[in-house]
Point group: C2
Chain length 279, copies 2
């Protein structure tokens, strides 16, 4: 094994690029003396002269030029990777449903950005997730068989309507009907039972996005049977109200899809923050 220090090679690389020990020193925040020492050391260990010294000028020997070609390519490969790594570590990707993104995540991200100005969050919604095993995925579904530490919320459902729009008309009821047929539906019957209501009192309209149902209710087109998480902010703002209906619990909830790799530091910060949004 050739016993030369990586530091010396790094210095050599800079000197070779600049054809100057002084400029190399400036680039690396070193003294020219130190550069001179490093290169002399390298030459001695290799038993090969790398630079031809003229007064106030150094030139690579052919051997030096060969080595410089390799160090230039080698170090830049490594440094490019380092930069990419650091850059993408500042930026985390979150996959989730469009309803959750629009009603909960994206509005809340303003606070996250304030708390963590150096972390960029990009939210990705849509059916076919981009394959990115670095991403955090927030799913909505049956949480009965999900590991406890992955669960973000267990949703309660209730009937909400916009109290500000005249003619408080409970009908029709906009109701989410998840695309994924293996999911249990919204607990509408349980809710009716709990509030001593009869299904005959309501016309039902189903959309495959909970978000659309909520938007109809906001517009005053009727009321919405929605999960608590998605309407909590609207309720706080007085845009929607549950009147005096009682919420009903469910097996549905938001959870983090497990991944084989551990979260990065930035991801962990996001996940910790995310949990707080459900308390």
């Amino acid at each position: 094994m050739i016993n030369v220090s990586m530091q010396a090679l790094k210095v050599f690389d800079a000197a070779a690029r600049h054809n100057s020990f002084k400029l190399a020193a400036d680039e690396l925040n070193l003294t020219a003396t130190n550069v001179s020492h490093h290169i002399k050391n390298l030459e001695t260990r290799l038993g090969i002269e790398l630079f031809i010294r003229k007064t106030r000028e150094v030139t690579l020997t052919t051997a030096g030029a060969d080595l410089a070609k390799a160090t230039g390519s080698g170090f830049s490969t490594i440094e490019r990777a380092l930069h990419q790594l650091v850059d993408q570590s500042k930026c985390i990707a979150v996959h989730t449903t469009s309803s959750f993104a629009a009603q909960k995540l994206i509005p809340a991200l303003r606070d996250f950005a304030k708390l963590n100005p150096d972390i960029d969050v990009s939210v990705i919604t849509g059916e076919h997730l981009v394959h990115d095993n670095q991403a955090i995925t927030i799913r909505f579904g049956d949480i009965s068989h999900i590991e406890k530490h992955q669960i973000l919320s267990i949703e309660q459902f209730n009937l909400y309507l916009n109290p500000n729009i005249g003619g408080i008309n409970q009908s029709p009821v906009f109701m989410p009907k998840w695309k994924n047929s293996s999911l249990p539906g919204a607990p509408w019957s349980a809710w009716l039972r709990q509030n001593q209501m009869n299904h005959k009192q309501f016309d039902l309209i189903a959309y495959d996005q909970e978000l659309y149902c909520i938007q109809e209710a906001i517009a005053g087109a009727g009321c919405v049977f929605a999960s608590h998480s998605l309407v909590s902010m609207l309720e706080q703002n007085g845009v929607l109200t549950s009147s005096d209906h009682q919420p009903v619990s469910s097996n549905l909830g938001y959870y983090l899809s497990s991944q084989e790799v551990r979260y990065s530091q930035q991801q962990q910060i996001f996940v910790d923050w995310l949990r707080k949004q459900f308390i």
Copy 2:
């Protein structure tokens, strides 16, 4: 600029390749503790976890795997270049004429190899030189306008014959006639004048290689008008003799073709040795 030490990256690279701090330590002749320190240091500086630690086992994170790919390729590029450099620095190439190679250089190389067993010399002869600016080139020609420090010898010419073969027949005379027409010919007329001889006394046969002329004389087919350097060894061994003829001087000689790059240490050793062969 990302401030991570190359040493730490080197250690990371080994650890990544082995998926083990201990094996990395073994490879680099370090302690596992030191490897652990280096990688922890790297992770802290980058703010990115590179390995997932389980008991008695470490695995790369996706970030770690990305970096490992770059370090693997980068360091191997550099190390390959270093090895090639060191290998080829042990081996020097010498271009010269076939006559000089056969009669002088190759026989003498035995001594050189004894003095410098770690330097491999390869001799290249032939018309079209391989383009290799690392090589040493020994030329034969008019030395009148060659820099003094490049000159190896100024040749004297004389008539030689094999005294051991009966019927010492001076005729014919084998005479080199250089392919390169711009070269002054062998100083035959000057020699005749100096030895008070007449050109009518000799039948001349010209070959474009001095070597072939010498071989004819060794075989007893006649005598040869040759340069001192090429026959000196044969004269010492008694294979050829100049009888009592007087040598004549010339402007022809051996010289090192100048090069823009300085000689490497090994090349300098060879050149120093080469000069001694002409004293």
